[in-house]
Amino acid sequence: MSLLSQIELKDQFRFWPRHNEALFKRLESKHAWLEERHHAPEDLTLDALDNEMVLNIGPQHPATHGVLRCAVKLDGETIDKCVLDLGYLHRGIEKVAEAKTYQEFMPYTDRMDYLSPYSNNVAWCLAVEKITGIEAPERAQWIRMMMCELARISAHLLWMGVGLMDAGAVSVFLWTFELREDLYNIFDHVAGARLTVSHSRIGGLFSDVTDESLAMIRAFCDKFDGAIEGWEKLLNRNRIWIDRNEGIGMLTAEEVVELGMTGPNLRGSGVPYDIRRFEPYLRYEEVDFIIPIRTEGDSLARYFVRMDEMKESVKIVRQCLARIPEIHGPIRVDDAKHAYPSKDEVYYSMEGLIHDFLYTDTGVCPPKGVWSYHAIEAPKGELGFYIESNGTGSPARVRINTPSFTNLQGLEYMLEGAMMGDMVILIGTIDPVMGEADK
């Protein structure tokens, strides 16, 4: 029993004392004992110089991009050791999934990576479609692909704006948010919601895109081309930006694989792993795009990877825009056991109403005792859903492999030996979303 737990706290209530104790123990710091000695009897003298500096950054610090808590042990300005503390946004959505039907759970995925909700919806729907064996109509697949790429641009724009604001350039933040506003308007038009879109359905989509929204997307692509050209002119050879990023957070190809990192962090170190190529889903085999890769493995390389990825995304969106008007057909599977009937059917036919009721009540039922895993390339990396079915309308187990969680594990390693001033840049370059890391 440690000294800390013996101290009488009178009316003062401490939250989770054992938690912090374990955290500081992991940090192998004298700080924990310092905290104990604050409450210790008189005979223990206290000398601040005996102790190294321990800094708690977060969970409320704005530079941690959410509720990430980093406890760092400092030696001067160098970070000796870093321990990350997650779970401040833990909502237990894997548990929630077990009590919902497959379709009911879909809006929860919006709240995971809230910067690209559309790709989360699609990831979940594809995972359910895989275990059930449904194939969405072609038109739905193209629309999904286009919207996923727009979501990737939206997420990368936020990374860029916030990352540069961390480095002190506030104006870029405003420029990127102007474009993100356009993207939100597009999502509003297509899905009816700006942030939590919930547009994808198991077996297809909720609604079709209109010509008006296609025109908005086309206008956005043209606007984006000009905008990114300007930013690259400003940043690619910008002395301050390069000095802040070059050689920071170096990771070799072996290290990133060993740490299990995904997404642009993996490709910034020269590992060619992108689910769009590794396990092509939707119609990615039919569009022409490249996977940007850099071999330097520092923060600057990851910046270039993400910038190039946005340009590739626009390329994919343009190809989708060209294809979508050519493809006619339904946007949802015409099978009452696999997808919702259309609203017309529900309102004007008895069978439609029954199907709608049964689908809401029970929904799809994958075979009993099977499991499958489906992953997509979300903006942050591999986002995969492992589903195990028990033959009923709700899953027996859902395991969500989120890219932010795996990437943060690498951050702990990257921060050790880094400078305190680079910490904010390094969190930005990992690009974590805590809603996703904490699930």
């Binding site: 077990e98 590794f278 396990e279 895993y373 395991r399 492999n401 795996t406 594990q409 699930k439």
Partner: protein, 233 residues
């Protein structure tokens, strides 16, 4: 898995009204049936053959669904098998690990490992089973460093200890929490009193229940409700 395995709070008192949209036990699709989302990376008969040849009886079961190979192996050999897969078959990239609670079955817990060989384009799933009486599994952090946090999460959520893990703290829940939430017997609304939360108002006491209304007590409000004269009318 039977219907008993569903969370306890979902079982209603009207057992006779338990209605199923499809038959309770629909026929399992035949092996090799074409799944529209089947990926060629997950079909790895050569790896399965190599594992069977090397480890023989320690490979308990090989299943194929949706073109995905799953190999269930002996729990004690998971580290050896992992090392063999990593060093000789090139599965260097550790993607994911997760626990599964099978509740009423023998060997209650299952752990799956999701491994990728980036160069050869292969994905393999390993599974091991862990008994409820002794929920301990060997840690694979010595083979893949990336398994560290995933194993911590599995410990946090299912209470499966990982032998040889360098830092087996809880991942999401605070250390003071005594339960393992993803186990099937843990109620969806939590256990009142298990997790003290900060007071909602400056003078309010510490709240011990995140969902007071659901458990029949009155939630603490941070404001005074204004009096209304609606009742008089």
């Amino acid at each position: 898995m039977s219907d008993d395995a569903r969370p306890a709070n979902r079982t209603s008192t009207h057992e006779t009204l338990n209605f199923h949209f499809t038959p309770v036990d629909p026929p399992k699709p035949e092996e090799g049936a074409i799944n529209p989302h089947a990926k060629r990376t997950t079909h790895v008969p050569d790896v399965v053959a190599a594992l069977k040849e090397r480890f023989g009886a320690d490979v308990h079961e090989v299943t194929l669904y949706a073109n995905e190979h799953t190999v269930r192996v002996a729990r004690e050999r998971i580290v050896d098998i992992g090392r063999f897969l990593k060093e000789e078959l090139g599965f260097t990239y550790f993607v994911d690990l997760g626990g599964i609670d099978r509740f009423t079955e023998e060997d209650r817990f299952e752990i799956f490992y999701n491994l990728v060989n980036i160069d050869a384009g292969k994905r393999l799933r390993l599974k091991i089973r862990v008994d409820e009486d002794e929920p301990v599994a060997p840690s694979v952090t010595g083979v893949w460093r990336a398994a560290n946090w995933q194993e911590r999460e599995c410990w946090d959520m299912f209470g499966i200890r990982f032998e040889g893990h360098p830092d087996l703290r809880r991942m999401y829940m605070p250390e003071d929490f005594e339960y393992h939430p993803l186990r099937k017997e843990f109620p969806l609304l939590g256990i009142p009193g298990s997790l003290p939360l900060p007071p909602q108002a400056p003078d309010a006491p510490v709240s011990l229940d995140p969902f007071p209304a659901a458990h029949g007590s009155k939630p603490i409000k941070s404001y005074e409700e204004p009096e209304t004269d609606l009742s008089e009318e």
